[in-house]
Amino acid sequence: MTAAMLAEAWQAMGANRLRTFLTMLGMVIGVGAVILMLAVGQGAQQQVQESIASMGSNLFIILSGSTTSGGLRMGGGAAPTLTMADAAAIEELPSVAAVAPTAPGTAQLVYGPNNWSTQVMGSTPSFLTVRDWKLSAGFPFTDSDIRSATRVCLLGQTVVQNLFGDEDPVGKTIRIKNSPYVVLGVLAAKGQSLDGRDQDDTVIVPVTTALRKLFGSQFAGTVRFMMAQAESADAMPAVEKAINELLHQRHRIREGADNDFSVRNLTALANTAAETAQVMSLMLGAIASVSLLVGGIGIMNIMLVSVTERTREIGIRMAIGARGSDILLQFLLEAIIISVIGCLIGVALGVGGALLVSKFSGMAIVVTAASIFMAFAVAAAVGIFFGWYPARKAAAMKPIDALRYQ
């Protein structure tokens, strides 16, 4: 019975191919958009989460320079005011796990015929601790390297690829700004940061080496920023307060004057970013769902036209013994077939589109079985929901009225 009805519905759809196709198109676009948007949204969300995981936990960043100066907002770290002694003092605070004073800069790296311009960060062994950054090969430098400002370095994966290719860099000597540095180790891959930078495109050298030998800072002994790690998430508010008070004191800031430093809770910022990504993901899904709804209304519209157009056919079928439920089933099946086939094509296009987007824009894309399943369920529901009214209308017709319809 249902098989016969399916065949009938299929035949009716085949009889008006262009219309069936156009009706389906609404569904195809709706489902495709939902799949694509969810893929983009979830991709972004996943990327943010990975970035957060790669950042290290319970982190503060302490920036040199005041946040505002004469009403103008200065770039963080514009004028270095944080000293190595500040770092040591912060490390002594309760609940502070580690502090990594950091002096960033850029430099040209040369190994053999290859050269590569990248970010060079002078820091301490603590840097690897606070960033939760492992080495994939070799060893980190130590406090004695800091004390004697040795020319050693740790290379990020991107730098290794560009300078060494497949060669093992550990123990080799590269030139940074024309001075020789021994590669002690290679950093494990970290991927993108929250702001989209490649975290693996970096070189880490002892902070003293960076300050004295590499960048020759005019503010000797000061660093642009420090990273500090609290022992636990609960301790973060207290630690933030303590750092603020300590630096306030040490820098002898007068009451009412602007601080020459600022403390930011990176973990809180990251959580905000994660929430933003989630909201964006939901928004994209919601916007795409509207097109699915429009597709459903398209189906209803066409089905209503179809019911009117086929009133005589309905009359004939009733005259030879079709029950209302048979007519209902026939039109409902048509709506469902259209929406499910449209959904299949939409899923294919959505997934294909997502792959294309990730290929050409490099955006992270996540297509989950759940999103496909959801699109399917929604499509079937849309078919039933929007097919129901026209089908009901067809089934409720009186045989004689349907037959007389011209």
Binding site: M1, A3, A4, M5, E8, Q11, A12, A15, R312, E313, G315, I316, R317, M318, A319, I320, G321, A322, R323, G324, S325, D326, K398, P399, I400, L403
Partner: protein, 244 residues
Amino acid sequence: MARAADAVIRIEHLDKEYATEAGAVPVLKDVSVTVAPGEFVAIMGPSGSGKSTFMNILGCLDVATRGRYVLNGRDVGTLDKDELAHLRNQVIGFVFQGFNLLPRASLEDNVALPLIYRGTPRSERLARAREMLAKVGLGAYPRSHPNQISGGQQQRVAIARALVNQPKLILADEPTGNLDTATSMEIMALFTELNERDGITVVLVTHEPDIAAVAHRLVRLTDGKVIYDGPLERAAPGHMEKTP
């Protein structure tokens, strides 16, 4: 005349009114007719006299305003929509003036259509449909479509469709109205065969005395009333006149 209990059709004091803007318009007035199994009844009457209205009620396509209609032993007035659909499917075969075939379906699919609503498996449906097409002389083109054959052939297909569920009763509202005289006679020969050989009760509406002459009994309607009901031979000459 057969005993009332055995009748295929028993109509008692049936009224039909159409609701219009000007109020209820009576179209059938106190009609009582009984048709026994195996009868061949012609219904005649001037245009607008209510013949089609009557046939539609007989065919359970429409319902009477008042009165009783017992079809094949069942009081139609007490049945719900699904039971009426079942009667249309199993007991009645309806043949229309305009054939009413589904243009998109092949001839065999058209003929097989009533079987779908009976839940017959596909292979059996098609076998039965081909058998019926052969019976009406169209066995050669089961896969053709209605627009590829003549009007007379289309009416044969419609008759095959009416026959496919082996109905007790065939109702035909001006089945030859769209056909030329020769073709009309062929169709009437087919009805006669069904009536005489298969014992199917036939009720048909016509304007043509030649067509009505094939029947055994004449019911004449004028202005919604039965003004003659009896054997064809005894009908007054006026009753057999061609009606406009």
